[in-house]
């Protein structure tokens, strides 16, 4: 609230006139004006130049002309020129150096303003050469009688240090700077501290601010003397100090506390940081500790009456503070109540803190507020408010019932996003208080159809699965979700899989079909490794030991923790040391996000050390932080066991995962057994190849019962099949520690196999073979484990036919027929890639009806047609036809047009793609012309290769 005269602006004599000359030739014009003899004209010209600068125009071309105006006794003109120089000195250092003599001269000017301007501008010129001119004037200015010059010089030391650190040290400027901390003028003190802390920060090793009780005392004295901005620097600097005992900590706190009443919120927050940090060292029994706690609350609350931007930063920090020391603000709940015209970013932060402060004492008020917020306009805010109600229920047990009924009220509003949020949080409430509020399930089920967000769908499915025995039509409900299984998000798919397995274990008789359906959907038709893995684990569990499955899947779940999204204690302690900084706004340590943050060291809170105890005393030694008694927030993630036990998504589990140890051990065994079966009993632990996320793909055909899942028939028919290329070496022994692999692909009566020869060229016995394919264009995958019955002795070879199927996961490869394979033995895992001929994918029912062929041929656009030449093939039409038929390329029709034979052929790939071909054979010409039409023209080239291979062999 500043009162000032308001009528200044009616004048026409404003600077806006300087913007008017924006035509071309402007620079030229300005140049002329700058070189005018008239002082007034010069000044106006410089003003125009500056006006252009303010809107981002590049007027650096005028540099020499502006610099020429510098030699003047008109202070205003001189200042304007300096303004210009400061802007361009950094980007045009070479030109700026032209003015250096004037700078040096101006450093001697009787007017302190000019001395200061000169030294300041010189510091901005980032050229090594400038330093030799700068040192002497700077030394004088640091000792200048005028504080305005001294404070400017102090900053200049930091600038110079940035250009040439060694020079600054050699010249003793750092010591002068340290002396300035005790200057009589507060602004000099402030700038000296700022400069020192900048230098210290960029050179952490410099020991510049080696804080000891003497220097701390100096800083604390300066704290009272210097400007608000300097106070911030001093406080931030103090925060890095480690007091030697609790007495020293207390005495620093006492001297910092008055800063809490400062009008500048940045000063307040920096003071809070120092206090929060040093409090760690004080014993809670101390009277002073309690006093300090009380003193911290009012300034934090006051920050919330400031401008919204300040409030936001304050709230982010308060969020940390209430997690660390909830007692400070426990009585101040109401200041966090949301006003409807708060900016959204303030509203969301306030809500978060309300939940953190919620307790039995204030829960009624909090709930009333949250309910109010849930009817507001802003969707994000409403959602968070609904979620907050759920968090209250989980945090304050006494309020759970009230929260649930509030949520039910909200569900009745039928506002779509409110309903969805409510369901998500009710799921969490169920997990916290099992068997208590299930009466509401009916109401929830009514809203099943309106759920369109994955999180809400997943939550609802979880509820249905978890309480399947109480929901009569649970199977119908879950089945309805299954229809669009592949359109669901992974979250929902996983949840659906788990829910149906739970349902099956609870009501096995009616739901067998459903569970088979979901297992095959998850394992065969999905390319999501998590989903497949979970599917296989369930499948194996169910097929090997249903009792164990029940124990694992329906195991009692650990209750979810009291409070969600708490910051991890060690991170919290680190962040407390960064109160007031960007780190505190992002809730991440600076090392995680500040670009080029040099010398960022991890900060941690101080251990409590009593002054009367010796430091070596064992009970004070490694108390580190309060981490030990905090609940661990989340168990290990990503490992298989954690995954298995964590099958239900949801908030982090409280308590260490060992709580469920017996079940876990069971899981290990089951899993081990499962893997054994999977690996065909070759024993040993199979390490999945790193580039394939899923274990070996055992694709059971759809519809087989659970029992014969692993009943693998390696049925090898010996009827005439497709053309089989001779074996080639795929993996030379040199690359695989003595294991040589050669092989080929074949197709016989509908089954594809990979025919391998494994040769042991090493000196040791090889065993424990296993194989895996990476995802590939046609989903090729081993249909059985690699069966090597006896260990492979040195120099021994074994021939193996590995049956393949095409139900693995699909990923387009380049080239299309590239297959990446991992083979493991007792020595290592080896990788190779090979190309398979496409004709192994030509299926037996690839003959198209003539009518159909004609229609399809017309239907496929012409740009999908590709023509190839098959050279030097002297076969006649019939021979060609029969040879191709052996490899499942079928002749649909044959015509003779003008003496040449036209064969119309069709073939179908395993993935259902049809390829239509027209083959022209001229009796006199050994070259055949092949035209291919296909809806997926990228396969054509490979089809052509197959034609060539088949016809020429």
């Amino acid at each position: 609230m500043r009162r000032g005269p308001c009528c200044w602006l009616e004048t026409t004599m404003t600077d806006s006139k300087y913007f008017t000359t924006t035509k071309k030739g402007e620079i030229f014009e300005l140049k002329a004006e700058l070189n005018s003899d008239k002082k007034e004209k010069k000044k106006e010209a410089v003003k125009k130049v500056i006006a252009s600068m303010t809107v981002g125009k590049d007027v650096s071309a005028l540099f020499p002309d502006v610099v020429n105006c510098m030699q003047t006794d008109n202070l205003e003109l001189k200042k304007l020129v300096y303004l210009y120089l400061m802007n361009y000195a950094k980007s045009q250092p070479d030109m700026a150096i032209m003015a250096v003599n004037t700078f040096v001269k101006d450093c001697e000017d009787p007017n302190p303003l000019i001395r200061a301007l000169a030294v300041r501008t010189m510091g901005c010129i980032r050229v090594d050469k400038i330093t030799e001119y700068l040192c002497e004037p700077l030394r004088k200015c640091l000792k200048d009688e005028d504080p305005y010059v001294r404070k400017t010089a102090a900053v200049c030391v930091a600038k110079l240090h940035d250009i040439n650190a060694q020079l600054v040290e050699d010249q003793g400027f750092l010591d002068t700077l340290k002396d300035l901390i005790s200057d009589s003028n507060p602004m000099v003190v402030a700038n000296a501290v700022a400069a020192l802390s900048e230098i210290a920060e960029s050179h952490p090793s410099s020991n510049l601010l080696d804080l000891n009780p003497q220097s701390i005392n100096k800083l604390l004295t300066a704290l009272n003397e210097c400007t608000e901005w300097g106070q911030i620097f001093i406080l931030d600097c103090l925060a890095n100090y480690m007091p030697k005992d609790d007495r020293e900590a207390q005495s620093i706190c006492e001297r910092v506390t008055p800063r809490l009443s400062h009008a500048n919120s940045a000063v307040v927050l920096s003071a809070v940081k120092v206090l929060m940090k040093f409090m760690e060292m004080l014993s809670k029994d101390l009277d002073y500790y309690g006093t300090l706690l009380k003193k911290l609350a009012p300034p934090l609350v006051t920050l919330l009456s400031a401008e919204p931007e300040l409030q936001y930063v304050a709230l982010r920090n308060i969020n940390l503070i209430v997690q660390k020391r909830p007692e400070i603000l426990k009585h101040e709940m109401k200041v966090f109540f949301v006003k409807y015209n708060d900016p959204i970013y303030v509203k969301l932060e306030k809500l978060d803190i309300m939940i953190r402060l919620a307790s039995q004492a204030n829960i009624a008020q909090v709930l009333a507020e949250l309910k109010e917020y849930a009817t507001e306009v802003d969707v994000d805010f409403v959602r968070k408010a609904v979620r907050a109600i759920g968090r209250c229920a989980i945090k304050v047990e006494q309020s759970a019932e009230r929260c649930v009924s509030t949520l039910l009220d909200l569900i009745q509003t039928k506002v779509n996003y409110v309903v969805q949020e409510a369901i998500v949080v009710i799921k969490d409430i169920f997990r916290k208080y099992p068997n208590k509020y299930e009466s509401v399930i009916a109401t929830l089920c009514e809203n099943l159809d309106s759920l369109d967000e994955p999180e809400a769908r997943a939550a609802m499915i979880w509820i249905v699965g978890e309480y399947a025995e109480r929901i009569d039509n649970a199977d119908e409900l879950l089945e309805s979700f299954l229809e669009g299984f592949h359109d669901e998000s992974t979250q929902v798919q996983l949840q659906l899989l788990t829910a149906i397995v739970k349902l099956f274990l609870k009501k096995p008789t009616e739901t067998q079909e459903l569970v088979q359906q979901v297992l095959s959907l998850a394992t065969q038709d999905s390319d999501n490794p998590d989903l497949r893995d979970r599917g296989y684990i369930y499948w194996r569990l169910l097929s090997t030991d249903p009792v164990a499955a029940k124990e694992v899947v329906l195991a009692e779940k650990p209750l979810i923790s009291e409070e969600t999204d708490l910051i991890e204690p060690t991170l919290l302690d680190e962040l407390i040391c960064y109160i007031g900084t960007l780190a505190s706004v992002y809730h991440k340590p600076p090392s995680a996000f500040v670009e080029g943050s040099r010398g960022v060291t991890h900060k941690s809170l101080l251990p409590r050390t009593g002054s009367n105890e010796s430091v070596e005393s064992p009970d004070t030694a490694p108390s580190g932080g309060p981490a030990a008694d905090q609940p661990s927030v989340i168990p290990t993630q990503g490992d298989l066991l954690g995954d298995l036990l964590n099958l239900d998504l949801g908030p982090p589990v409280s308590g260490p995962p060992m709580a469920t140890a017996p079940v876990q051990m069971g899981a290990v065994d089951l899993l081990g057994g499962g893997l054994d079966i999977l690996m065909g009993g070759t024993g040993g632990s199979f390490t999945p190849a790193p580039n394939t996320a899923a274990p070996t793909n055992v694709g059971a055909p759809l519809g087989t019962g659970l029992g014969d899942l692993f009943d693998l028939t390696g049925g090898v028919g010996t009827l005439s099949g497709s053309y089989v290329a001779p074996k080639t070496v795929w993996l030379p022994a040199m690359k695989a520690k003595g294991l040589e692999i050669s092989g080929t692909f074949s197709r016989q009566v509908g089954s594809i196999s990979m025919d391998l020869v494994l040769t042991n060229k090493a000196l040791q016995v090889m065993s424990d073979f296993a194989i895996q394919f990476n995802r590939n264009s046609f989903g090729l995958a081993p249909a059985a484990p690699l069966q090597v019955h006896a260990p492979l002795a040195p120099n021994q070879s074994v021939e193996i036919s590995l049956p393949l199927n095409t139900v693995g996961s699909v990923m387009k490869m380049d080239p299309l027929n590239n297959l990446q394979v991992a083979v493991k033995n007792n020595i290592d895992v080896f990788y190779f890639s090979t190309l398979y001929p496409l004709h192994i994918l030509f299926v037996e029912d690839g003959k198209m009806e003539r009518q159909m062929f004609l229609a399809t041929w017309k239907d496929i656009p012409n740009e999908n047609e590709t023509q190839f030449q098959i050279k030097d093939c002297s076969l006649n039409a019939d021979a060609v036809s029969s040879k191709l038929q052996g490899s499942n390329i079928f002749t649909v029709a044959k015509r003779n047009v003008e003496g040449q034979d036209m064969l119309y052929q069709s073939l179908k790939l395993t993935n259902g793609i049809w390829v239509l071909a027209e083959l022209r054979i001229q009796p006199s010409n050994p070259n055949l012309t092949l035209s291919l039409k296909c809806r997926a023209p990228e396969v054509s080239q490979y089809i052509y290769q197959a034609y060539e291979t088949i016809l020429k062999n």
Binding site: V377, T413, P590
Partner: protein, 424 residues
Amino acid sequence: MCFQQKMIHSLFLINCSGDIFLEKHWKSVVSQSVCDYFFEAQEKAIDVENVPPVISTPHHYLISIYRDKIFFVSVIQTEVPPLFVIEFLHRVADTFQDYFGECSETAIKDNVVIVYELLEEMLDNGFPLATESNILKELIKPPTILRSVVNSITGSSNVGDTLPTGQLSNIPWRRAGVKYTNNEAYFDVIEEIDAIIDKSGSTVFAEIQGVIDSCIKLSGMPDLSLSFMNPRLLDDVSFHPCIRFKRWESERVLSFIPPDGNFRLISYRVSSQNLVAIPVYVKHMISFKENTSSGRFDVTIGPKQNMGKTVEGVVMTVHMPKAVLNMNLTATQGSYTFDPVTKVLTWDVGKITPQKLPNLKGIVNLQSGAPKPEENPSLNIQFKIQQLAISGLKVNRLDMYGEKYKPFKGVKYITKAGKFQVRT
């Protein structure tokens, strides 16, 4: 060479239509394109007030404030206390306000050279240098009609060619050699009530944000002591740096050498529920009917705990739900407007006379076919009470030491509504 870009790197001023109309770089020039991230956030926020104050971009952080329809967007590159930056930006805006009488795009453009000089003076190498208005005004003179005219005739300048004298003393906020013919010291005790009143009329939350704004025109180096009848009310106070904190701690007296001119002496907060009187009450009936595309609106305002003073300058604003098309109302007092675009209803009530309570009543028309609004609009009330500090804070006496003359002293009290909201 390693650049340590510390503190505020650059400043961009952006108007509401997204034009960058001023930029200032304290380090090397940062391209305007960095503001694209800001515009992106602005677009996402829809409402200008909702633009987040801290935005991270791949190479910089943008910390911004929104004031007087201008975004002050600062560019920083390293870990910097955001409050430091935000406080500084507000200080820049304050200074513009102080210098040009208003902080607007026109005022800034009209005085662009002064603006540039100010910015250069306020920050060096990213460190705030001089942010006290008193000092700045000695370094860079504010524009006046008279001076512009005189300058253009005589060719004299508007740059102070002497150093601010305050720089030499330990009281940077005051210049030496101040001289007035009439020595005056005025204190305005201004209290704002922030409150949330629920549907039933009970107070959910209430607190008083108070400030004492001073206008001191005293010659020389006066040393003042201001004492209160009831200083214990003030337990949460922020002080101007001139106040001697120790004296306050021990004696509960505000002792200080004041800056010259206008400044905020203290700000304080009174939150103890029983101390916060609520001077008005609102009776309201706002309802929307299903299927008829209409609703009813009936609001009455009356005086409550007003300590026998008149409640005046009453204005009620309501953000009606989006579905509201227009409103046909009758006001027994004052006038109302409804903006169908922003959906804001404003009722300028004026003074409340207890004999005849102001009432606004009538029909709300909804968009046909739109569902009945779920949310109930909050009523935002503004009011003023002259000659009253609602907390009961009273100045006891003002003593002056160090100077011989007898100053004229005055204290004024006023209570206003701050964020005063009634839920319906």
